[in-house]
Symmetry: C2
Subunit: 271 residues, 2 copies
């Protein structure tokens, strides 16, 4: 494996750009190749079996691009398919669940932790397992929030958006009643709704976004393997999507800011 | 072609069950095979190119099951891919757009008609073209409503659901200002939100659901071709999905009622 090889990142769509953003901050010298499977997004409503199939196809495409490490920047894919993809790939594969769980454990004082995510992520119990493996005495409360992704993609995200607040209130009320002190945003789209979620949960609840922690885990692994690039900056970004480069570019601005999501190529046949 | 052959119906997911329901009412003697492409739903956020590809794959599968006629029970697929699928298939193919447009024209007195649908349906201008072809003097006002499908799938649909009302109010306000007297529900999921939409639009606006009109068009075409079955009832139902038969069965109850969505088979590799 070459030090100069790029890091591969894939997500079902655009949400994984929150992880890419943190990778760019922490490892500005690394080249990255991002794949958004926009022809088959969202994964969060699909069975583990189908998510396995799609994840492996995506991973193999990025492998064919010569990556030195793969980040599954999608909570659903990480929850259902991490081990499956790891077994199939000759390069290291990092998911977002374990880093998120570690960050939550560090943040919580009461040991009462909430997790929100897609239907499939919550059904997989991947966060519950990862948290319990770290600390068996934790009390964990989970809630699927299917409308959060479409809300974020529609851009109805702000702290004073009445729809966002009402939806957040309906999903999060049971978690608030459980007096959690830490809430894992277990979907890469959810940081876009952070303001509305914070408004509903109140200032005493710490919100955990696994993106930063995943970037740190990536940096550590590359260092341990002697695969970190030495230069200080200059990483190149490239993007592939399976549908609508235009839509990806437009939505991508909400995640990375203007001018960051260029060089988006359409990958015609993923299947 | 055999009179005893089944009618094929496909939709991106479960929404097309509104069309199947009307077919079952009007043609209870016909066998039907329904395909819900639940591994790749929703189509309404995808490009026309990708919807073409998926629609043709679905159509070919149903053709392999020996159907005598195909109904594209998905507004997005009908809007982008009807002609494309018609050219490729040796059996007649009916979409939902033209029947919906005809029903709207009949209902409107003022000639001011609104259309709501997915992003891709609205961008295609398929309803505008179909309506103008029937009557060039019509005034047509379109609005994409991306959150309606996830709302309907979440079951937050009732007349007094605050989220449904707030979302409907935000999308439909511009149409209300245009003083339309008829609104086409240009997505097969939207009839589930009929109560909330009616509440926002007021009693003077007629809501058009193309399902019933599409069933009538299907009956007429079968009759004209001498392909109508003669017995009075006894049609068999079968269902295929590309993911999660359980989820399809559960959501299907909202459309067809208990006990109607049985015999759901998983179609493993659509690609």
């Amino acid at each position: 494996m070459k030090v100069s090889a790029p890091i591969g990142v894939f997500d079902s769509g655009i949400g994984g750009l929150t992880v890419l953003r943190e990778l760019m901050r922490l490892l500005p010298q690394e080249d990255t190749i991002y794949l958004g499977d926009t022809a088959r997004v969202p994964y969060g409503i699909r069975s583990a079996r189908v998510v396995n199939r799609y994840s492996l196809q995506n991973a193999r495409f990025l492998l064919s691009q010569g990556i030195k490490l793969l980040v599954l920047a999608c909570n659903t894919a990480s929850a259902t398919s991490l081990a499956y993809v790891q077994r199939a790939l000759p390069v290291p594969v990092i998911g977002v669940i374990e880093p998120g769980a570690r960050a939550a454990l560090r943040a919580s004082r009461s040991g009462r932790i909430g997790v929100v995510g897609t239907e499939t992520t919550i059904r997989s119990k991947a966060y519950v397992k990862a948290l319990k493996a770290l600390e068996p005495s934790l009390k964990i409360f989970s809630q699927a929030c299917p409308l959060f992704v479409p809300l974020a993609e529609e851009g109805w995200c702000s702290r004073d958006d009445q729809v966002a607040l009402l939806v957040a209130e309906r999903y999060l009320r049971p978690l608030r009643r459980q007096r959690i002190d830490t809430l894992v945003l277990g979907c890469t789209h959810y940081p876009l709704l952070r303001d509305a979620i914070a408004e509903v949960m109140g200032p005493q609840v710490v919100l955990i976004d696994s993106a930063a922690e995943t970037a740190r885990a990536t940096a550590k692994l590359l260092k341990d393997m002697g695969l970190l690039r030495r230069r200080a900056s200059g990483g190149r970004r490239s993007f592939f999507v399976t549908d609508s480069p235009q839509r990806f570019r437009a939505l991508g601005r909400r995640f990375l800011g203007d001018g960051q999501v260029e060089n988006v190529q359409l990958l015609e046949v993923m299947q």
